[in-house]
Symmetry: C2
Subunit: 414 residues, 2 copies
């Protein structure tokens, strides 16, 4: 079957497992063709090929609903829901955004760009369905770093109290944007290492039913796994181990670089263009590393985006204990900075403009009210920001300017 | 010993366990005297008497540091650290704020009013201490609802990666402001029911060492428990079961009403004044209940403060499935409202002005960008707000006004 013949999920419903397997191969090939020329979220989507195909094979969209979080892992979903052209026809590459978008398809329920919100949003769909008396499956697909944000925890905590069908798929690729951090990820590893059998289980401790799926890039396994929870009558976590960058050796080898990037040479994986001019991130990291040499209390903090502030794996090693990645958890980053300052340290928190708003209350309560001295470096602000509606760099000055005691400095020329 | 003779924690260091027990009785008596005349956080502090005394007996402040979250449970700490007059001398009642405050005492590390931030802030102290090479104990006291906010989860997740001493005390009184909700609280109950032995353990799943203390209102037990973790060389959770309202029958019986309140008759527990005029909360709840009768898709949501929006226990029963308390988790409340709206329901989220800022990113991403219709009712806004710096009702309009697509309506007269 030609990929372009797939106009909707109905077109894959009659396939055999072997045909689905071949389809996954074709999709992965097309994905690599597009991403190598166009850029985008590479590793996350390569890891999601089989899972996306299996979900569309088992569930019936748009009646059943899938909420992707973070939705940068929805490319294959888009390919299967009427948007194949945008992935196989170079002239159409720009016809889709990088996140789910209800304006593109009724199978996209929400636009989700910031992470950790999917379980909460899907929980709302479940609640509404229950009140209306519907019976459809509601699936939240989380992972690729989206478990570290506090809202994910709040969402799971509430999910355990919901009645009726709710399938929470945890795409566990053992990565955030960079490597994972935090105690939770040790438990995910323990669960992977014990085939889900460890009695110490974060999801069960949150009050949720749980199943583990070890081979998240095997189409037969996934079709069976989703089939076994379809129409289930209570909330359940399906913890699925996948490989980020699956099927493309350079992306399997360097998961951080291939999380998101511009065009690359398909044969070697080398980026098509390397900007050799020093950028804001590199300058920042070098400046901080220099300070750290003379002052052991300087701490650089990132919330899951070390690359943005120039902290390459090498520089992270160099900084040692003076570099902290709290995971995608901006509230923690700001509060931690305040605590470090109060304890006599000199914190620097570098953050993408759009993500600063995830820590409004911490800027107000933990920092402003407590008068702690921290430097917050804003990256990708204003019109130099990222280009999706979910990642605009326009709000930082407005939101910070109302909080007493915070001085916002911005360059007036470049 | 007269309570006024206690000028600093040093004054209780030489006491026997029996003397400490008598001290706890005297403190509880004084607390009740003040709170019955002055109002304040009643139940939380009655439950914390023995724990506060034991901590000051075992640890050495201000070298060792205690971070209270939420710090409305710090009254006894204040009594033991140079501020006894403000609790036993009616003329001095207003000399202390209701939260920890570094301006009052060097033993108050942060001002914490919004909840769930303590582990994160204390984690910053730990990080700074490690870099500086200090050896002091750092203790975070969380609980009384402060585990349900996402930042608490982010804080625990990072805490598990810290080196050196870090004692996280979970004051588990089985309550938030109202009753607890969410899957996590089932695990806390399981841990209480199994004397901490259940293999399914939220804190261990977060990568943390763990001990359970069943008798959190017994001074001998607590002195031993804190003694056993003093100077411990790694992060540990001390899960301590206490009774909210301990020692005062009306507060033990009606934990929600005695969480926070104005003056009351000490003999009966009856409030000194009852405002019979219908308030904003009552009007809101009655209006919503009326709507619910005719429309099964109307949902009233609170983030742990049902009383604020007029949903008394009776009205909660009346609303049934159409009332949701997500716990103190405003991010969840806004995202859930967005999901309910997307699923065809009609959500109302009622929130104290000061707490709306805990959901800035959700207002922006989950609601504004997704164009979902929800009504958010703001309570205690502007100069009618609460009177502590941590709970000012001045910021809601400023922060909301920069988010596209949200209409803010405010009365121009009363």
């Amino acid at each position: 079957m030609n990929l372009l013949d797939i106009k909707s999920p109905a077109d894959i419903k009659g396939m055999s497992i072997d045909e689905l397997g071949k389809l996954c191969g074709d999709i992965r090939h097309a994905l690599l063709e597009k991403l190598s020329r166009h850029g985008g979220h590479i590793g996350p989507n390569l890891g999601m090929v089989e899972m996306s195909v299996a979900m569309h094979y088992v569930f019936d969209l748009p009646t059943d609903k899938i909420v992707y979080d973070v939705s940068h892992q929805s490319y294959v979903h888009k390919m299967l829901t009427g948007r194949m052209e945008a992935f196989v026809n170079p002239d159409e590459y720009n016809k889709v955004t990088g996140f789910t978008n209800p304006k593109e398809s009724p199978t996209d329920i929400f636009t989700i760009g910031h992470t950790s919100t999917g379980v909460s949003l899907a929980g709302g769909l479940v609640k509404a369905r229950n009140l209306i008396g519907g019976k459809e499956n509601i699936i939240a697909v989380v992972g690729d770093g989206s478990l570290s944000g506090g809202e994910a925890f709040e969402g799971l905590d509430y999910a355990a109290t919901l009645n009726g069908n709710f399938i929470i798929v945890v795409n566990d690729n053992d990565m955030s944007i960079a490597e994972n951090h935090g105690g939770l990820y040790r438990n995910l590893k323990e669960l992977r290492d014990t085939d889900g059998e460890s009695p110490c289980n974060f999801f069960k401790a949150m009050g949720l039913d749980y199943r583990y799926v070890a081979y998240g890039n095997d189409i037969r396994t996934l079709v069976e796994a989703f089939g076994s929870v379809k129409d289930i009558d209570h909330p359940i976590v399906l913890h699925i181990a996948t490989q980020k960058g699956k099927g493309y050796a350079p992306a399997e080898a360097d998961k951080e670089r291939f999380h998101f990037g511009g065009p690359f040479d398909l044969a070697s994986g080398a980026p098509m263009s390397i900007n050799k001019a020093p950028d804001y991130g590199t300058l920042t990291a070098e400046y901080l590393l220099n300070m750290m040499k003379n002052d052991s209390t300087v701490v650089a903090i990132t919330a899951g985006t070390p690359g943005v502030i120039g902290f390459t794996p090498e520089r992270r090693l160099q900084a040692g204990e003076q570099f902290v990645d709290v995971g995608i958890a901006e509230q923690e980053a700001v509060a931690l900075a305040s605590g470090i300052a109060k304890g006599g340290g000199k914190p620097f928190f570098g953050v993408v403009s759009s993500f600063l708003q995830r820590a409004y209350d911490q800027l107000s309560q933990d920092m402003s009210i407590n008068g702690t001295s921290a430097v917050i470096g804003i990256f990708y602000g204003t019109i130099l920001g990222m280009n999706d509606v979910t990642h605009l760099g326009w709000f930082d000055i407005a939101l910070v300017s109302n909080i007493p005691g915070i001085v916002y400095l911005a360059p007036t020329c470049m």
